[in-house]
């Protein structure tokens, strides 16, 4: 719970800033280097690095350094987050209901056997 809460907090903190939302929008149309982003948002390289760092921490952006250029792209989106959530619940309920299925099968056979015994 604590872990998940921390991630949500990081996500909301990351999205609370207008520049960072702008960066996400920008990366939604194409990948960009930190230098590109700094220029586009009229910021210093250091300032943009900080913003990208916050987005990266929240898992909203991933970066990759090739040579001297660090390229930023959108990270695991909310849709993937949702898919992961569903999968976790599906695993739990799937495992639980598989066990219930076995038990129900057993009870059904037992009831049939009891019925036969009662009739004879």
């Amino acid at each position: 719970m604590v872990h998940y809460q921390a991630r949500l907090d990081a996500t909301f903190a990351a999205l609370a800033d207008v520049t960072r939302r702008g960066v996400l929008e920008q990366l939604g149309s194409s990948d960009a280097s930190i230098t590109d982003l700094a220029q586009r948002f009229h910021m210093t390289l250091t300032g943009m690095k900080k913003h990208v760092g916050v987005l990266e921490q929240a898992g909203l952006v991933t970066t990759e350094k090739v040579g001297r250029v660090r390229t930023c792209k959108l990270g695991r989106g909310l849709l993937e987050e949702e898919a992961a959530w569903i999968e976790q619940h599906r695993q739990l309920w799937g495992a639980r209901f598989d066990e219930l299925d076995k038990l129900v099968e057993h009870l059904k056979r037992k009831e049939k056997a009891d019925d036969r015994r009662n009739r004879s």
């Binding site: 719970m1 976790q88 739990l92 495992a95 639980r96 598989d98 066990e99 038990l103 099968e105």
Partner: protein, 159 residues
């Protein structure tokens, strides 16, 4: 026949903002599925999947409208057992059960229905959370006994 009524398939969906819906068809009449759900000795045999690595150390269920339940789990990685508890708001034998999860303010209200058709039973479990956030944070097991941390810890220990 829709996916939801296909035997042996558990379907999980998020509905609206605050809901989780799980469906599964069992090849048995409703009274048998209900019996497995409402008899503590039987309930204990399936509610905690073996893969969860947890054990249900006590299971008190007073299954009637207005009755209460209390489930206590233990996981080898934790010193303290964890208790989950609430109230049965409605119990209609072989048809429907509604219960609350009161261990936290973010707990869901769970409704499960049993619909028998041609000897098979469609079970629909519906969890309604107080807020969207509560649902999204309801990691597997916060109310069900399989916290995400345990899965992560297991991975950690295995690695």
């Amino acid at each position: 026949m829709t996916d939801a009524t296909e035997a042996n398939r558990t379907v999980v969906e998020r509905k609206a903002d605050r809901e989780l819906v799980v469906t599964r068809t069992f090849d048995a009449p409703a009274h048998i599925v209900f019996e497995a759900w409402s008899t503590p000795e039987l309930f204990k045999q399936w509610w905690v999947p073996k893969s969860a690595g947890m054990s249900l150390i006590s299971c008190d269920m007073d299954i009637r409208t207005g009755g209460t339940y209390r489930l206590v789990f233990r996981h080898p990685a934790f010193d303290q057992p964890m208790a989950f508890f609430g109230t049965y708001r409605e119990v209609a034998p072989n048809t429907r059960m509604v219960w609350t999860n009161e261990e936290s303010e973010q707990g869901a209200v769970t409704t499960v229905t049993f619909e028998e058709r041609a000897g098979k039973t469609l079970v629909t479990l519906h969890e309604l959370y107080p807020t969207k956030e509560a649902r999204d944070e309801a990691i597997v097991g916060s109310a069900e006994g399989l916290p995400e941390q345990f899965a992560q810890l297991d991975e950690l220990l295995a690695g």
